[in-house]
Subunit: 154 residues, 2 copies
Amino acid sequence: MSAPHTPDLATLDDQLCFAIYSANTAINRMYRPYLNKLGLTYPQYIALLALWEKDDVTVGALGKRLFLDTNTLTPLLKRLEGMGHLTRTRDPKDERVVRIRLTDQGRALQGQASDALACVHAMASEADVDLKPWIEALGHLRNEALKKAQCAGG
Amino acid sequence: MSAPHTPDLATLDDQLCFAIYSANTAINRMYRPYLNKLGLTYPQYIALLALWEKDDVTVGALGKRLFLDTNTLTPLLKRLEGMGHLTRTRDPKDERVVRIRLTDQGRALQGQASDALACVHAMASEADVDLKPWIEALGHLRNEALKKAQCAGG
DNA sequence: TACCGTTATATCGCACGCGATAAATAAGGA
DNA sequence: TCCTTATTTATCGCGTGCGATATAACGGTA
């Protein structure tokens, strides 16, 4: 461990972290004009993706799906509630739990977001990339990184 | 355009945006314990990666390298300056320009960050992934996304 | 010199992401 | 019942990202 210097690995363009970091912000920017029309931020859109797939879930369950904690999710969900896209109600059977349910308005957003999807696929075809294996591999990478993060004492 | 519904594409796990979004946060978390030891945040580390490769650059040039604007970089660089890792000095020939130069202390951090690099490579080998083509492909994807972001009126 | 447009950096407000902490409820044992 | 512990959600502070705006300095023209 602690090799003194690794010049061949230290350059920015050779770093996986920068590649993913900058690709993420770039895709965020690509989505932005479409999401602005809907009044949504990128993380709000991601959360809605999960809810469009399955709603009537607890904050904790949604957080596990998105790999986010309540300190991030609660304010985000409150904003989506304020816009009328979902409801946050305490579960009568267990008052600790808050259940998230989409409103009709929130469900209707899914159709309006199709322009963004079309843009992603246009980009993928222009970049000559088949998305499916990419998405799979990135998911695998994420799980490995999370495993490392756990054992390192995160 | 504007297809009413695309259920086969709308699931979270089929989305490139979520795959990259969650992979990025996962890698951030993997780095965190190592960077905490150095008192650095993830974006600060990314900026230092660029500066270790080439310093004595303007804020604007560094921003182009990192795909970030001054509204993000200036406060970040001020914090790194406050820690003593770099200096920010106005160029006497053009007082608009601020030149960023690493201190010896800032340069010495590169060696101390090798544990994080080792962790990334351990993860890559455990995930059975050859990093090089990945990093290249992600860079290509980033450039295509930025192109889309530009023309869409970013 | 004054004026004007451009360029480089900085500032402000808002929404994340997260470590740390708090508050409320539930579950189980004496 | 009371007490203790665990679980779930919420709150606070700080550091990004970024749109919008401001400030300062340069370049060119008259």
